[in-house]
């Protein structure tokens, strides 16, 4: 009874107190958000925006639709069995005449040429030779006379497939797939099926470089973490030195060292170890060496920071309890460095995936990684659809790996990698 009275009396103040508290919380949140808003907007425009733009370009397919609008409309209800009807040919002739006048024919020709090699010539030569609209009822005949390709079903299925506004064409091509005349997804012709191999090559090189960095970096990091500060600082400067040197300079230095009349080969020859110079560059070996050198600091630094946090008392305790040095290392020390190993490996691996300059300069034709092809299609042949699709596949694969890594280390970070 008194309780009820009391709560009744207090309820109103309590509510207002709660509300005030909420309001204060909200103001605080808004203030905090206002503080980070500039950075958020900046990230949105400079990071998320371009990535979304790239993903969009991988499926965007409006070029043919813009240049040949009437043809696309006429083909919408074509069953794809025989050649299209006269109306479609009329639409095409009229589209070509308009496009030729406005100089846009090549834009469609370029896109169609990706799907059917030779289409550029078919379309540009037709545009050149079609002087005016054919007589009513003779469009089919007239176009077939100008270029026999217009009598082929495959010519028309190519146009229909490219009618947009979005397409899976580039993404399929990035995975060595294509659609056949009936619209079923099939393997690309063997001459053009190169991207799966290149992705595999990219991941393999990155994995090899990560393993090499770990092998070489672990002892160095251990030394850094256990030396007295004076000497460890000096060593740290050597580790950081590559960070302050241009990537190009470091890569070219390897060329000087490894070429057939380079420092390494000459020394070996002078020592009488070899008669013929070894091939150390313009092949996979050179790529792995140069990339490992460039990426080593990214492995050493996370390892060093995780080792710095390990108290030497653990190892002493293990020894006093009768563990042999190797056992103590494997069961006490190594598990505690796992977060560092994980972070370093992931960092090196993901950086290696996108490497471009180093493989381009010290690799052979069979050592180019996916970034080389993305750059080639972006700048040289201006096939942005394929470049974006390759980028999208790489992005997706990298994200999956990062997620898998997250799952792997989740259990370990809680306990520092030690069994409870």
């Amino acid at each position: 009874m008194t309780d009820a009275l009391l709560t009744g009396a207090n309820a109103s103040t309590e509510v207002s107190l709660k509300r005030r508290l909420r309001r204060a919380e909200r103001t605080r949140q808004v203030k905090a958000l206002a503080l980070v808003a500039p950075l958020l907007v900046f990230l949105l425009f400079t990071f998320a925006g371009p990535i979304i733009g790239m993903l969009w370009r991988a499926v965007d397919d409006r070029e043919v639709r813009q240049v040949l609008p009437q043809t696309i409309a006429a083909l919408a209800n074509w069953d794809g069995k025989d050649l299209p009807d006269e109306k479609t040919y009329v639409a095409l002739a009229s589209d070509i005449l308009v496009a030729r006048a406005s100089g846009t024919i090549a834009i469609a020709a370029k896109r169609l040429n990706y799907a059917l090699n030779g289409f550029r010539t078919i379309l540009t030569s037709t545009a050149r030779n079609l002087k005016a609209m054919p007589e009513p009822g003779t469009s089919k005949e007239a176009l077939g006379k100008i270029n026999p390709a217009w009598r082929e079903r495959s010519t028309w299925t190519t146009i229909k497939d490219a009618s947009g506004p979005v397409t899976g064409f580039y993404l399929l091509a990035a995975l060595d797939l294509t659609r056949n005349a009936d619209g079923a997804i099939v393997a690309a012709p063997p001459d053009q099926a190169i991207y799966r191999d290149i992705f595999a090559r990219t991941f393999l090189i990155s994995l090899g470089v990560t393993a090499l960095c770990l092998l070489l970096g672990f002892p160095v990091a251990y030394l850094l973490a256990t030396l007295p500060p004076g000497r460890s600082n000096l060593l740290m400067i050597f580790v950081l030195l590559p960070f302050w040197t241009s990537l190009l300079v470091r890569t070219c230095a390897w060329i000087v060292l490894l070429q057939s009349k380079g420092v390494v080969n000459d020394s070996l020859h002078w020592l009488g170890i070899i008669d013929e110079p070894l091939r150390l560059i313009y092949n996979r070996f050179g790529v792995c060496v140069a990339m490992t050198h460039v990426l080593l600091p990214f492995m050493i630094l996370p390892l060093y920071s995780s080792m710095k946090a390990i108290s030497p008392a653990y190892m002493r305790a293990a020894a006093s309890l009768g563990a042999a040095p190797l056992t103590a290392f494997l069961r006490i020390y190594l598990p505690q460095t796992l977060p560092g190993i994980g972070a370093g490996s992931l960092l090196v691996f993901i950086l290696a995936l996108g490497y471009y300059i180093t493989p381009a300069l010290v690799g052979g034709a069979a050592d180019q990684m996916i970034s080389y092809f993305i750059a080639l299609y972006t700048t040289e042949t201006a096939n942005w659809g394929l470049a974006s699709a390759l980028g999208a596949v790489l992005l997706l694969a990298t994200l999956l790996l990062a997620l898998a890594y997250g799952k792997l280390v989740q259990g370990q970070q809680v306990t520092g990698g030690m069994k409870n």
Partner: protein, 352 residues
Amino acid sequence: MLKRKIGKIALGFAAAFSASAALATVAQARDLTVVSWGGAYQDAQKKVYFEPFKKAAGIAMNDESWDGGVGVLRAKVQGGAATWDVVQVESDELAVGCEEGLFEKMDYSKIGGEAAYIPPSVNACGVGAILYDFVLGYDKDKLKDAPSGWADFFDTKKIPGKRALRQGPKTTLEIALMADGVAPNDVYKVLATDEGVERAFKKLDTIKGDIVWWKAGAQPPQLLASGEVVMTSVYNGRIDTANKNEKKNFGMVWDGALFTLDSWVILKGSPNKDAAYKFLDFAGKAENQSKLSENIAYGTSNKDAAGRLAPAVLKDLPTAPDNIKNAVEINVGFWLENIDRLTERFNKWAAK
């Protein structure tokens, strides 16, 4: 409520951001900017075109360099913030950019008329600047018997050692076919057939293990100088520069060389069109072009430029009658149609 506030703040920032971006893209009054290929070539251009033009016309201009790629120009023009006016482009960039409407139509009445230029250099979207070759280059100090052409390039018995070619199918397949006995004039006819492509790759198979692939024009002279390769495909101007400036003793084979043109274009929407035409008029005059050939061994586009040169200079130019006799022009149309397919084919072959 909170969400809406966040929305408002974000909107405010977005508005401010896009407004400033829009302001930045408004074509500002800036000096004429001319873009070329850098290196020894651009130094020569500075000397004979840029500096004298500034003095003669009293127009402020600056020059930048780039590495090519029509994608770069597309991004510049479509981005609406093109900071370049006049750019020197390769023949395929000229063709694609012209089709995509990235360049202003060239008004020849402002640059001395079409008749002043050699026919291959006249284009609706640009005007020829230089003519240059991919030649077979070698080091005279290292090779006793000079190679006589591409057939020797593929003969590892006669001339042992590694060779360098440009990475990718372009120029490589033409060279392979000429080495296999195809006449320079028939190269593209053969290459247009599937059998021709097969034949080129078969020929490349014979020296696959001995090829080093170069990617940038500066690499071949370095590869020759370091003794990494005994022969290489190379831009003729680079050989000439290495001989003049670094006292090298490199030789060239003009027989079966592949020639191509670079052109000047004016980017679409350039705010400095008048100044750009004045510059192109200046760079198109025979007396100025002949000075360029004296500084670097490239042919030029004005019909009367070669006539002003001393015979000693002329004999080392791609445009000299003896040198162009057995040369093939790189076929832009063929490569526009086939570059993607043959790039894939080439990389398939390389990975085998």
